[in-house]
């Protein structure tokens, strides 16, 4: 074994798009059709080793194994909530973990996937944001969250609402959404895949142009001053620019945009907010999802006030904006999307201070 082989980990095949696999085949001197065969085994089956790729010759399997790891990783832990929600814990490296939530309900089975280990965006209300950032996930590590759970075949919807800001890892997320929706991949309808962002405008523009998947934008306040206090990103990409970007995009007939709005009691649930939301979203074809806020330790934000929440929803609907209240799921296992917590498992690395 050469020195390089001892220290450089092998690349993973899981997470490669078909064009990536064709390049790999070319590099290894294999015919192009091998790429499609590999894609089949990676994305249409749940094989765990090269040996199970039975329509690929042993020689080629050995060659692949020599250069690439398959990249399939089993969850190390699963917790189940009383309401059927499950939270899977996947290892990313020896001391880094990510969470994936499986959320079944009467009409659909949703998988909430993570796009980063931790997050850099520092939203005040978010447990993930308060853990800081540990690592980017590769497309393979994103795809693995679907591929390696027992409910894989049952999943009808994917939401990128777990740990991390997807558009702070845009290249890998773009690959992952391609594999989820492509004919060679998981073949999910783009209408069943939603990427959720706090609005990193440049990457969002690319996504709106190059993907057909749905977009969810975390707004939480339509007011500049107030949103800045909740979400530092507002200093850089104000919500007005985020909405303008959506308004400039060609969304076609079916693509859905939703506005995610965590409701803090008597903070962002007033008539003033209703009016400003209606003004800001005047030209946007979207719906609003209102989300309960359940107190997070040491976060100085008030929990949702139920009566006000219902009144807020009614007032928004009256303004002509389709507004729903999202059911809270998996509360007993801390599985609310975007509020996943693996604090005990995550070690902070030494920063620049």
């Amino acid at each position: 074994m050469s020195f390089a082989e001892t220290i450089i980990p092998k690349e993973h095949l899981l997470g490669k798009t078909l064009p990536d696999l064709k390049r790999i085949a070319g590099k290894l001197g294999l015919p192009a059709f091998v790429a499609a065969q590999i894609a089949y085994w990676l994305y249409k089956t749940n094989i765990q080793s090269y040996d199970e790729m039975t329509n690929i010759s042993k020689k080629v399997r050995l060659l692949l194994a020599e250069h690439y790891e398959l990249g399939v990783v089993e969850p190390v832990k699963v917790q189940q909530s009383e309401d059927g929600t499950k939270k899977y814990l996947f290892p990313v490296s020896s001391h880094k973990f990510i969470e994936t939530a499986f959320i079944p309900d009467a009409r659909r089975n949703t998988l909430c996937v993570s796009s980063q280990v931790g997050c850099k965006m520092g939203c005040l209300f978010c447990a993930t944001g308060r853990q800081g950032f540990q690592d980017q996930l590769s497309a393979g590590q994103i795809i693995n969250q679907l591929r390696s759970i027992p409910e894989r075949e049952l999943i009808t919807n994917i939401v990128f609402m777990g740990m991390g800001e997807p558009f702070d890892n845009a290249e890998e997320v773009m690959k992952a959404q391609e594999i989820l929706t492509a004919a060679y991949g998981f073949e999910l309808s783009a209408r069943k895949v939603t990427v959720s962002t706090i609005g990193i405008v440049p990457a969002m523009e690319v996504f709106l142009r190059e993907s057909k998947c749905n977009l969810a934008v975390s707004m939480h306040s339509p007011f500049d001053e107030e949103r800045r206090k909740l979400m530092p990103i507002q200093h850089v990409y104000p919500i007005k620019d985020v909405i303008d970007t959506i308004n400039c995009a060609d969304l076609g007939k079916y693509r859905r945009v939703s506005i995610e709005y965590i409701v803090f009691g008597e903070l962002n649930d007033t008539q003033k907010h209703v009016k400003e939301l209606a003004r800001l979203l005047n030209k946007t074809r979207c719906r609003i999802n209102l989300i309960h806020f359940h107190p997070v330790p040491n976060v100085p934000l008030p929990p949702t006030n139920e009566d006000r929440l219902i009144e807020f929803q009614r007032a928004l609907n009256e303004k002509g904006i389709v507004t729903t209240i999202r059911a809270s799921r998996g509360l007993d296992i801390d599985a609310a999307c975007g509020l996943l917590s693996t604090k005990a498992l995550i070690q902070r690395e030494n920063g620049d201070f």
Partner: protein
């Protein structure tokens, strides 16, 4: 390039570099002539080729200074900074218009930075907003207190350098977070500006909140 021309972060113009100096190991101060107005605390998008994605940098010079300066450190394996560091005077740099709303004010406030996160505060200081401010800068090594001669001269005891890995005269030995923990009776009605990595901002914010500072008085810029 992006088709939406109106977005501030995607439309580049070229400028010619005046200097790009390593002021501390792996940390550079890059300058070019200023031919636009900006507000202290704003950022620019930067690229070495007009086909690249922009990375954001706080402007590290005053609103009326002749040149625009940017302070950056090389991220090993990074897409931009290793390539930025090899640029020489007269080389071309691609910049966007300045944008962002991380703005200072005349009122008394705490400015708390780590590493290159000192940049917006230095810009605010150079733009005349330094009076009545306490400036706290955290770094790992003593050679990473950028602009310290000028800042010491102006801020005197209101300029606190926290050095986590080396001891030095006139500096606090410990992380900026430890220093904040050690402070009592922080005024609750002043603003606390934070700037640096996500970890630094989030940890400092938690300490401030635990000391009774209302979240509405914490103003954070994260270098993501």
């Amino acid at each position: 390039m992006n088709s939406v021309e109106s977005k501030p972060n995607v439309k580049f113009k070229s400028v010619s570099i005046l200097s790009n100096t390593e002021i501390s190991p792996n940390v550079f101060l890059l300058s070019f002539k200023r031919d636009f107005a900006f507000k202290a605390g704003q950022v620019l998008g930067i690229a070495v080729s007009s086909n690249d994605d922009a990375r954001l940098y706080s402007i590290a010079s005053g609103e009326n200074d002749e040149n625009i300066s940017l302070l950056y450190n090389i991220k090993p394996g990074g897409k931009l900074t290793p390539n930025l560091a090899i640029l020489r005077p007269d080389d071309t740099l691609w910049i966007t218009v300045p944008f962002g709303s991380y703005a200072g004010s005349d009122e008394p406030a705490y400015w708390i930075a780590a590493g290159t996160g000192i940049a917006p505060f230095y810009s605010m200081f150079r733009s005349g907003l330094g009076s009545d401010k306490v400036l706290i800068h955290g770094s790992r090594t003593l050679d990473a207190f950028y602009f310290s001669d000028e800042l010491l001269n102006d801020f005197g005891p209101r300029y606190v350098r926290c050095c986590s890995q080396q001891e030095g005269e006139g500096t606090y030995h410990g992380r900026v977070t430890q220093y904040l923990e050690s402070l009592n009776n922080l005024p609750e009605d002043q603003k606390y500006y934070l700037c640096g990595s996500a970890e630094m901002v989030v940890e400092c914010r938690e300490i401030l909140l635990s000391k009774g500072i209302p979240f509405s008085n914490v103003v954070a810029e994260i270098y993501f």
